[in-house]
Amino acid sequence: MPDFKKEIRKRLEGLSLSPVREHEIIEELSQHLEDQYDQNLRGATTEEEAYCAVLLSLDESKLLGPELKRVERRAEQETVALGAEGKTNMFEDLGQDLRYGLRMLVRSPSFTIIAALALALGIGANSAIFSVVNTVLLRPLPYKNPDALMMVWEEATHLGFPFNTPSPANFIDWREQNTVFEGMAAMAQQSFNLTGAGEPERLDGRRVSANLFNILGVEPVLGRTFRPEEDQPGSSVTILSHGVWQRNFGGDPSIIGRTINLDGKSYSVIGVMPRTVDLPSMDNWQDQIWVPIAFFSKMPPAAGIITWRSSPGQSPASRDSRRRPRWIPSRGASRSSIRRRTRALGSPSNQCASGSSEISDPRCSFC
């Protein structure tokens, strides 16, 4: 069998085809010529005549080189043919493009590694940013009518604390003079040692006003919330988080009325909160238990952040201008932003120190 590949290769010179493509074309065309040669031989011609006839057909119209050049180089510039819509099947093109892309990536491993790293960093950064945006701006607080909730601090800029946590006395004063908000509740973080229920455990907890959960619109999954008469010194009732109820008490439905020991004192369990309850905190504090805040005269200052629910049709701006606690609407100020803000302010327990339980203390009064 004559070697037609050499003849074909000569005619492809100057087309600047890629080696792979040139090899493919040569192989395909040489097979065609060999078939043609065999057929010519079957027609009772001599080998030489058959060979010449094949070469003649190869050069018959002198079109091979120019036509291939046009196809291989300028396919994308072709005019739209009859019946064509100006584009080919999108998914078939996609498959072709993907295969081409993969081949290119395999050819240039260093470029591939750099591109993959850049993509990984970009995706990671975007994910992180979206997580923050989602938490801070998009995801609403898991409470009833969260737009009406506000966090309130004292303004003590002159002391270096533009967002100061108020003393219990100031909170009581605000609550008594309130004409704008539906309700006000205070809360203060506190750890508790839980004993008598398996292994002793240190729990993140919080002292809260009796009406806090009512203001937030949170219903317990078991039992009830605190009553006003229980928000007094000496109170011994507690509400468990869903996690503690499940983990420490096996989700026992008869937990209500059971006595547990917190910091060596007996508390009666009156309710269990749903797992969605997540109050604002200064750090990674995860409330696991709640007791009434029960203000008392010797209570440490800085009772904590105060939550207000505004009355319909009114805004804090309509309050007495002489006494303006600094308030922040909860819209867009979700848990993380509040945490960030409070963290940036430092520990509230260090603010409004001695004597701040007295409302006359200038450091803790309204600005």
Binding site: S57, V71, G83, E85
Partner: protein, 114 residues
């Protein structure tokens, strides 16, 4: 001379339709396509290597046919072309176009189908 130019142009204009039609039912390799065109046209139409393969490659670039190397036992490795989904649409459109064209020419010239 004028006749040969007309023949060439007609052949050129119909080549895509011929190839798409031949690979509609099953995949075929280039030599097979060339042989079938010659056979079915009773020798009136003939494509040589230089005219057939650039056309095949052009159709493949357009995504109307797809070529694939196939190895079969006892046979040489060959490149078979099959019609793609896009090619089916084009074939249907070109068939309609040619049918209308031929009918129009027939009405004018009085040429009847055999």
């Amino acid at each position: 001379m004028a006749s040969s130019v007309l023949d060439r142009e007609l052949k050129k204009g119909s080549a895509e339709l011929l190839i798409l039609s031949l690979v509609e039912d099953r995949p075929r390799h280039g030599y097979d396509i060339g042989q079938l065109i010659e056979l079915r046209s009773r020798g009136a139409l003939r494509f040589n290597v230089a005219s057939l393969y650039p056309l095949l490659y052009r159709l493949e670039k357009r995504g109307w046919i797809r070529g694939r190397w196939v190895e079969r036992a006892g046979q040489r490795r060959r490149r078979y072309y099959r019609l793609t989904a896009a090619g089916k649409k084009i074939l249907a459109a070109q068939r309609d176009g040619w049918r209308e064209f031929v009918e129009a020419i027939s009405r004018i010239t009085g040429i009847q189908h055999a």
